[in-house]
Structure formats: C-alpha cells, structure tokens
Amino acid sequence: MSTPQHDSGDPQRAGLTPEGALEQAHTARTAAIRVTARPWWVDLIFVVGLGAAVGTATARTALTWVVAAVIFAITIVATAVADRRSHHRHGRILDLRPAVFPGLTYLIGYAVVFLVGQMPVPPSWQPWWGSGVAVVVAGLAFLSLRADELHQLRRLRRGDYGPYDLV
C-alpha cells in the first residue's frame, strides 16, 4: 500500500482554490445523491399493489381476503425485484429523526386500513367503495414514501447525520 502525501501547504498548488474545491465536492455529492435516489416508479409499484389489495379486502368475503393476500404477496415480491434492479447505493440514514416518526406513520396507516376494513358498507356500494379506498390508500402511501425519500436526500446532501446513522 503506498502512502499518500499529506501536506498542509498551498491548496492552489494542487490545482484548486479552497472555495472551488468545496464547490466541486458539493456538486459531486448532489449528483451522486440524485443519480442514486430511489426511483418514484418503485414506490408506484408498491402503492398500486397495496391499494389494490386493500380495496379488494373491503368486500369482506373469504374469497376477497385470499385474493387480497395474494395481491399483497405479489406486490412485495415485485417491489423487491424492482428495488434491487434500480439499486445503486447502500446506506440510508436510520435514526430517530425523520420528517415524521416512522413508527407513527405506520401506526396511522395501519389504523386507517383497519378502520376502513371494518366499516359495514352495503354491498350495493361495491365496487365503487373498494375502488375509492384503493385510490386513497395508494395516494397516501405514495405521498408518505416520497416524503420519506426526499427527506433522506435532503439530509444526505447536507451531511446531516451522525457517526452510526448511515447504515
């Protein structure tokens, strides 16, 4: 292993002014974060499947619950494959300082889905009720996922994380 030169000398001798060097570093950070961000279509695959599963389950029959479970399982696999193929970075900020506490987000989401699933709606409301629920659940889930991703990107750009947060 060769030893690099460490020098506290003149930065301009090495070709860049300090301001220029910091500007280049910032530009490189920003570009790397932009290129490796999780694409919106991966989230879209997940929320479409999630919405379809929840919407199907609102019919509240044994058959529709099974179909909903199958749709959800397929969604998980499809999202995992899409995420893997579009994955260009390792390391997400995992600390307790996201835009909204993640546990709370999931709790609210779960409560909404549970309450919607328990609502006794007349059969004549279907399939419009199920379709409406699917669209609302998918829309809210999409907004939540994108907000989380944008929050991650903002913090990565600023270097706003602790020694053990980037995992």
């Binding site: 860049l16 300090p18 500007e23 570093a25 390792h90």
Partner: protein, 106 residues
Amino acid sequence: MPEPHTPWEPVEPRFDEFIHSPNRLRICAALDTATALEFGALEESLGISTSLLSKQLRLLADAGYVRVEKRPQGFGRPRTWVRLTTEGRRAYRGHVAALRDLIDGA
C-alpha cells in the same frame, strides 16, 4: 456556498494533497454520501470516463482510502461496488475541514 457538513465525529482539519486532486476529491465527496455506491452510478454522477474512474479508484485503493469489490447479484451480472474505508472517510472529512479553515482564515 454549500451548506456545511455536520461531522460524524470531531474532525481534525488536515489538508490532504492526494485527495485535493479534482477527480479524487469528487470521487470521495460522492462516496461520502453512502456506505457504498455502484461503479456505474459513480461514473454517471461524476461524468468521467470508465478508464479515468478506474485509474483514480486504483490510486485511492492503493492509498487505502477506498475499497472496490465485485458482488454477485441474485440475477444478472455481478456489480462493482465502491466504498470509502474508515481511513478514507476520515481523510476526506479532515480535508474538507482544512479547506473551511483556509476560507475562514482568509
């Protein structure tokens, strides 16, 4: 002016002429945003040729600042991942701190 980093740990400002080379500085800056970046993504981020990136990564690896490894995928060809070593991350952050000191002292 870019926003300052919140350092991971108290960083000792240390000007590093090896990192100060424009391409190596940009490579380290990009790698500092992740635990590892895929080679193709790094190439696209920096907009430099494959051969130049490979050469600079080899130099950085020889200096002990980065690690390059091929990882097999569940499907498809193995992909090359690049990451800063602990020493590399410390050197990069120390260099950035030194640059800030130089600007503040000017």
